[in-house]
Amino acid sequence: MAVLERRTEGLYCPAAEVWIDPSRPVERALITHAHADHARAGSGEYWAVNQSEGVLRQRLGREIKLNAVTYGEILTIGKAKISFHSAGHVLGSAQIRIEVGKEVWLVTGDYKRCHDPSCTPFEIVKCDVIITESTFGLPIYRWKTGHEITKEIHQWWSGESEHPSLLFCYAFGKAQRVLAELKALGINDEILLHGAVETVTRHYREAGIEMAKTCPVSAIERKNPLKGRLIIAPPSAYRSAWMKRFKEPQTAFASGWMTVRGARRRRGYERGFVLSDHADWPGLIQTIKESGAKRVYVTHGQDDVIARYLREVEGIEADSLKVLK
């Protein structure tokens, strides 16, 4: 019997009777990380890494029944041994290792390989079968370090002293990574935050992550033109009523998608900073190889591309997760 199988609610482990990142309410859910497409409300009981507890409770409800675990701690659930290992994606993100009998399966969740001062680094986990993400699974995607990109962001922002600079990025993870990198660069300026970024940033501060000084935009009187200030906001605020508060701002979007010029032009941002919390092409291939897995399932994005590449070029048995029964 396979360690994991695909059900309508998501990946299911019969030996432990648990689901991983289920898309619908289930009895018992293991959560790789607190992003909305992985953590959904309504399940009976949750397991997740302790560092993600703050954001999880904020998003799924204070009252959820949550078992907080530490990285590497081995849980025995039913006939399975289950442990969470750092994925380097966002604060508290994990790969989930499941051992049943002699077989080890690994669900990577979302992960990245490059350094990020706002979360623990990726850990290599050996396994027999790996289920990997593939959001940026094309060779055109290769990242520079967050340090380099943040220097570019700083240059962009400090070059504009007459108008505000609006940097858009995901409110959970990317925003705090930028703040932590800015701190590491020795930036002492106070950065302004959109409400959605502000709430998540508080959880990062509680977890002891060092970040640049911040202040909610809403705490500043509306008359202030915010000349030369950097404001971080989620993409949903772009071209919204919220944005009217800023006079002739320069705009930028920080995301892996900004690699491709057309993707930026289509969204209308002036600048694009290529900064991603997912693995790039070399990162994906390296991770799959280092896991030692004999069988690979690929999901979330370029699954067909990565699977075919592994089969035809690397000679590794691989398929899109779609084929798993």
């Binding site: 060779p139 055109i140 320069q250 705009t251 491709v260 010029r261 057309g262 370029q302 591309v305 070029v313």
Partner: protein, 565 residues
């Protein structure tokens, strides 16, 4: 005077690429071209306006070169190209990843190329890049071209790859409109925009003389403009509610003809026929040129080139004009089968005088007189439609349809002849388009801004009206690229990703479920299309989520429409 190097040009381009404000773009360009060496300046302008004529090496060839150098399989390259939607850009993203894979097998370059490469610096002026290095690369064959390109890619910083590949493939476009460039030149050299537009109507040549002529001070007493046409004044689609408040008698009604907009010039220097694309089309329409020889010197007419059926006194379908355009030289048979006329509706120069500031009604009077004095079977003119009340409008538009026009033009009687698309004076009021409900069968990703987004759709109609027939099939009928809003595009893209049945290269075959109302301007018979019909200007009118694929229209219904036209 300063030289523009590849490096500074690259900076200008990324500056333009990274701002959305028109004002900033104009400032950037006008600063850049101020006091520029004309030899570089001409190249900068030609490139900014996307008018680089010569394709030096095709994007496909560059892809071949990159692929030959790497062990990454071809299909994977293709997937990357589909994601990026631009050959030059894809290569600039992939080269840094693959450049270490192999060492060049053969370094040997010809002597002069070796010399060129030894001088390769991004501080070299643009003229050197465009006139020395790139044409040399173009002239090379097979392996030596491959090696030269690979060497070029390895020699320049990764950040310059995009620009150099864009220049090599000749597909350089940077999101500045012609209007922005015109405004920048005007600002930089203290000239009128209309002067620049006029000067730009001659063929662009990236050389010193062209740049100097373009930017020289205004000439007050210019008399003979040679073959140079005036910039066309363009009409916009009308919202009738918006002009109904004004007195109907302020407006002149004309038929709107579906032909090729043309400007016919007769001056001391000869007769010239320009199309709206600013191309000289004398050789395609010799009978119009012959007619123009009889016009008085110093006459410029604005009108429509049409294939005309003299007996029916009606234009032939637009496809006839396309057939005329398809031939470089016009045979006697073609002249007889598909005769053309010039339907004049405005006069912009008369007796060597610029008439553009005169009122439309006065210009038309002058045109009337000219027409009566110079009757010729290739020159047509239509008198004013009597029109005093807005309620008569629909009736007149209907008549226009019966007379073979595609609708009406509504022009302010006191309007000057402006340039470009300035709203408020000339409106077009076309017929309602024809529509059919068709089923989406294929989707393909677009390019450029629409890369990685399925925006090119193929639609199909049923070959049999019998809904319960088992042998009923969908036959492709039209392709459409526009008409959906961003939200619909996103929703449809998600649906396509989930409902792909098969992939042929970049094309996806999707479940035959989604029905769209397709609008178009006309139907013609066509041997090229599977269903035997071709439609003009097809676009998506509405997404019919209320309809099932079985409810879509069939080919017979399209044939019915054909009979009507």
């Amino acid at each position: 005077m300063h030289q523009a190097s590849f490096k500074t040009f690259g900076k200008l381009i990324s500056g333009l690429d990274q701002c959305n404000a028109t004002k900033t773009k104009i400032n950037l360009i006008s600063e850049f071209i101020k006091n520029i060496d004309p030899r570089d300046g001409s190249w900068i302008l030609v490139l900014l306006m996307g008018n680089q004529k010569k394709r030096l090496i095709t994007g496909r060839r560059l892809r071949e070169i990159l692929q030959s150098h790497s062990k990454i399989p071809t299909w994977l390259f293709d997937d990357c190209f589909a994601q990026v939607g631009d050959s030059a850009e894809t290569i600039s993203l992939l080269w840094p990843q693959v450049k270490h894979e192999h060492i060049l097998d053969n370094h040997k370059l010809s002597e002069d190329l070796e010399l060129a490469f030894s001088e390769l610096k991004d501080s070299n002026c643009m003229q050197w890049w465009m006139e020395t290095l790139l044409p040399k690369l173009k002239d090379l064959k097979d392996t030596s071209q491959k090696n030269a390109i690979l060497l070029l890619w390895s020699s320049i910083p990764d950040a310059d790859l995009y620009l150099i590949n864009k220049l090599i493939t000749g597909g350089f476009r940077i999101g500045v409109s012609k209007g922005i460039v015109v405004k920048s030149i005007a600002q930089s050299y203290g000239l009128d925009e209309s002067t620049i537009l006029e000067r730009l109507m001659v063929t662009m040549e990236p050389d010193e003389k062209w740049f100097k002529t373009l930017t020289q001070p205004e000439d007050e007493k210019r008399t003979n403009r040679g073959a140079i046409p005036y910039p066309f004044y363009l009409a916009s689609p009308v919202q009738i509610e918006n002009i109904r408040e004004t007195p109907a008698t302020d407006w002149r009604l004309e038929y709107k003809w579906d032909g090729i907009r043309g400007q016919l010039i007769k001056r001391g220097s000869g007769a010239f026929l320009w199309s709206r694309g600013e191309e000289l089309v004398n050789h395609v329409f010799p009978e119009i040129i012959t007619m123009a020889e009889y016009l008085p010197k110093g006459t410029v007419l604005d009108g429509e080139i049409l294939c005309w059926n003299q007996e029916a006194d009606k234009p032939m379908p637009f496809a006839s004009l396309q057939r005329r355009l398809g031939h470089k030289t016009v045979s006697k048979r073609l002249l007889k089968e598909l005769p053309v006329v010039f339907m004049a509706y405005d006069i912009i120069e008369s007796e060597q005088k610029d008439y553009r500031t005169y009122k439309l009604e006065n210009r038309v009077k002058t045109l009337e007189k000219l027409y009566e004095r110079h009757k010729h079977k290739c020159l047509l003119f239509r008198y004013n439609k009597q029109f005093t009340n807005w309620d008569e409008l629909e009736k007149i538009r209907e008549n226009a349809g019966q007379d073979g026009a595609e609708g009406l033009m509504i022009k302010k009687k006191d309007s000057c002849y402006l340039s470009g698309r300035k709203r408020g004076y000339w409106w077009k009021y076309k017929h309602e388009p024809m529509t059919l409900d068709a089923v989406l069968i294929y989707a393909q990703a677009g390019t450029g801004k629409r890369a990685n987004l399925f925006t090119d759709y193929t639609f199909a109609l049923w070959n049999d009206s019998n809904q319960i027939s088992d042998e009923r099939k969908l036959v492709s009928f039209a392709k459409a690229y526009s008409g959906l809003n961003n939200l619909e595009l996103e929703t449809l893209n998600r649906w396509i990703r989930i409902n792909t049945i098969e992939r042929f290269g970049p094309t996806r075959v999707v479940e035959q479920k989604q029905v769209f109302e397709i609008a178009f301007e006309g139907v013609m018979e066509s041997k090229r299309h599977k269903c035997g019909l071709a439609v003009r200007f097809p676009r998506i009118h509405r997404w019919r989520i209320d309809k099932l694929a079985t409810d879509a229209d069939c080919i017979d219904q399209a044939h019915e429409l054909l009979k009507k036209t």
